[in-house]
Amino acid sequence: MSDVVMQIDGKEVKASGDMTVLQAARASGIHIPTLCHHEKLEAFGGCRMCMVEVETRGRKSYVVSCLYPVAKDLVVRTRSERVDKIRRTILEELLAHAPNSPELVELAREYRADPNRFDKDPSFCILCGLCVRYCDEVKGKNAVDFVNRGATREIAFVPEIAAKECWDCQECFALCPTSYAQAAYFLTEALAFPGRRKAAATA
């Protein structure tokens, strides 16, 4: 892919034509916040924190930078009143579920998000899907997946697979921004293979 020259936050940026706006920004040291993005995983476009303002042929639109392809002469603004408002509202919506997640708390400070703005529902999981997608795309095990849909969506470990695969892996724990993946896993342990941890500790 040939290189393109574009503009991010007023700065001229050179990017390879197959990059996304997020990759181009990061490659030139411009920070865009993300919650569901991971270099090893396919872009998901779920958290919408990486939304930026783009301008093509005089038309302004709001796109997620983790998926939006770079283009010649594209003008990108990573911060604007509207972009900040989107990020702030998303943070407020997520803080209703996981009020103490360090990543969220830090971003809330930056975007002046009010953790008490909306009805609380401490489910702790923000459904970024990092655990689900890592287990699928990197490990190929699918031990953890989404269940249900809409407002009732959650993650759950599949007991049969978890019993076989998770004991020696647990790599998804370190990806979880709220530590809920661990909680869900230990619940599965309690259901599917209780006592194994104690047995291992006393062996």
Partner: protein, 562 residues
């Protein structure tokens, strides 16, 4: 059945079918559309079969079980063709009298339409107010077709447009004709179909797909089912023409798993079209190969969203694809995939047959042709309505629908279900037009028109829509999953008298972000009903919030403070 291998053979067959039929012989068409079916119209149909059966094989009258006639409010509907005598609310015990009188060329007066106020009667469809103001180009054939018989479709001129497209036009000419007709997508977006076809046609690759979106998951929308169940070949013919124009050899029909009658009719239509050589290899001897596979949804609204639908066809969960490349360039298995709604495809044959100029003469500057509308809510006569674009909403609600039920005043008309918008009754003279209604905040959507009377609680309406949407969202992206849930919570509190100061701002912020940041069209348009309500009915919201604030001794805001 014999396989047809040329346009001439198709015309021969058509002539044969027509000559075997006596066009003057009365044909009793019993509606078996969803609403009439629910009112036991099949018992009526059985009674007709039995009664006419008594007259022996040479009976001078015929019975035909058909798709939806349209006048759902007054089902079971029976129409006597060719005169189009219209009988309403027919019961099995009425059948002997209808047959007897029909044989004598008489009318059963007590079963025809009578105006509820004046008592004035109307015998023929063209005089019944519900039908009188309609232009039924798409749904009009429903009373003449048994959807299980392809011959009935051929008898009304079916597949002539396909023959014309295959033998008298080039693919480019077909695309040009559809572009010139300015056919806009009937599924909700109103995107120009010809432009979409051109994108798919010129996209790289040999493998391309054409798809019928027959999901129609929107509550309050039932016109696609009425059309598709009642006249499946019309949609199929449009699809085959589109496939030829785009250069696709594989089509998909994506529809509901929970409409057994629709499924049966589609399966039969596909099988009969194959037998006649209208599908499969070398269609009508033209050298063009094309076939269609039937796919079912998995019972979630978002599976009607284009990219989710395509994932579903691939066998994956119906989650929208986060892509900035059009599905007409990279859709099913990343191949160019042209998706149009049932009604859009059904418009194609007549555009090809009668020409773009004729088609473009109907409607407004930006919205051409007729539009099917599902008319329901607090309206006296609900049903499936077809009117030219540009028709004032007043005509639909009052002249066709008979006005608000129970003699109440209208408060609002709402288009597009949970992703549409409400406009106040004072704007009822607005025309049925994609752009005009979008400007007012009530985009046509797929065409579900809900009439709301003066007793309607607009906060409750928005809450109800959101409750429905939160369970139909896939839950993948935050502003849809969380934004709608929080919006619903705020509305729920208001309806319970627990409104708080700042609720309007909370709703506006949530709604703005949902509308701007969601991954797919479901989320983005989920913000529309509330947006329109805060635009036109903000006072009502403020009053209800004020009631909650009063209880808590808080500051009263808005009109409640006056």
């Amino acid at each position: 059945m014999t396989r047809l291998s040329s346009a001439a053979e198709l015309e021969q067959l058509r002539a044969q079918i027509l000559s075997s039929r006596d066009s003057a012989k009365p044909c009793i068409a019993v509606c078996a559309g969803a609403a009439c079916h629910g009112l036991d119209s099949l018992q009526v149909a059985n009674a007709f079969q039995a009664e006419v059966g008594k007259l022996g094989p040479a009976a001078p009258v015929e019975v035909r079980v058909t798709g939806c006639h349209g006048y759902c409010e007054k089902g079971p509907n029976v129409v006597i063709n060719p005169q189009e005598i219209c009988y309403l609310e027919v019961k099995p015990e009425d059948v002997p009298e209808i047959v007897e009188r029909t044989l004598k060329g008489e009318v059963v007066e007590r079963l025809v339409y009578a105006h509820p106020d004046t008592g004035e009667k109307a015998v023929h469809m063209k005089d019944v107010p519900f039908y009188k103001h309609q232009t039924r180009l798409l749904i009009g054939d429903n009373t003449r077709i048994d959807p299980m018989r392809i011959d009935d479709y051929l008898a009304v001129g079916g597949y002539a447009a396909l023959a014309k497209a295959l033998f008298e036009m080039t693919p480019d000419q077909i695309v040009d004709e559809v572009k010139k007709a300015n056919l806009r997508g009937r599924g909700g977006g109103g995107f120009p179909a010809g432009q979409k076809w051109e994108t798919a046609k010129s996209a790289a690759g040999d493998e391309k797909y054409v798809i019928v979106n027959g999901h129609e998951g929107e509550p309050g929308a039932f016109m696609d089912r009425a059309l598709f169940t009642g006249n499946p070949h019309k949609v199929l013919e449009g699809l085959i023409i589109g496939a030829f124009a785009i250069g696709s050899h594989q089509g998909y029909i994506y529809t509901r798993h929970d409409s057994p009658q629709l499924v049966k009719h589609i399966e039969q239509a596909l099988a009969q079209a194959r037998e006649y050589g209208l599908l499969g290899e070398n269609i009508l001897g033209s050298g063009f190969d094309f076939d269609v596979e039937l796919h079912f949804d998995v019972g979630i609204f978002v599976s009607g969203e284009s990219s989710a639908l395509m994932r579903s066809i691939e066998g994956l969960p119906p989650e929208p694809r986060p892509k900035y490349i059009r599905t007409s360039v990279a859709g099913i298995r990343d191949k160019p995939s042209n998706l149009n709604n049932v009604e859009t495809w059904a418009n194609v044959p007549q555009i090809i047959e009668r020409g773009a100029d004729w088609y473009a003469s109907i409607g407004t500057a930006g919205s051409k042709g007729t539009k099917l509308v599902s008319l329901s809510g607090n309206v006296r006569d609900s049903g499936v309505v077809e009117v030219p674009m540009g028709t004032p909403l007043r005509t639909i609600v009052y002249d066709i629908g008979g006005g608000v039920a129970g003699g109440k005043a209208a408060k609002a008309v709402h288009f597009g279900g949970p992703m549409g918008g409400s406009i106040p009754a004072s704007m009822i003279d607005a025309p049925l037009d994609f752009d005009e209604l979008a400007k007012l905040g009530a985009p046509i959507g797929a065409g579900g028109l809900l009439v709301m009377d003066e007793d309607t609680d607009m906060v409750e309406v928005a809450r109800y829509f959101l409750e429905w949407l939160t369970t139909e969202s896939c839950g993948k992206c935050v502003p849809c999953r969380e934004g709608m849930w929080q919006t619903m919570k705020v509305l729920e509190n208001i309806t319970k008298g627990k409104g708080r100061n700042g609720d309007i701002e909370r709703l506006q912020d949530l709604n703005e972000v949902t509308g701007a940041a969601c991954l797919c069209a479901l989320g983005k348009t989920a913000a529309d009903p509330l947006k329109s309500m805060l635009r036109y009915f903000k006072d009502e919201y403020e009053t209800q919030i004020g009631r909650g604030s009063e209880v808590k001794g808080g500051e009263v805001v808005g009109s409640a403070a006056k």
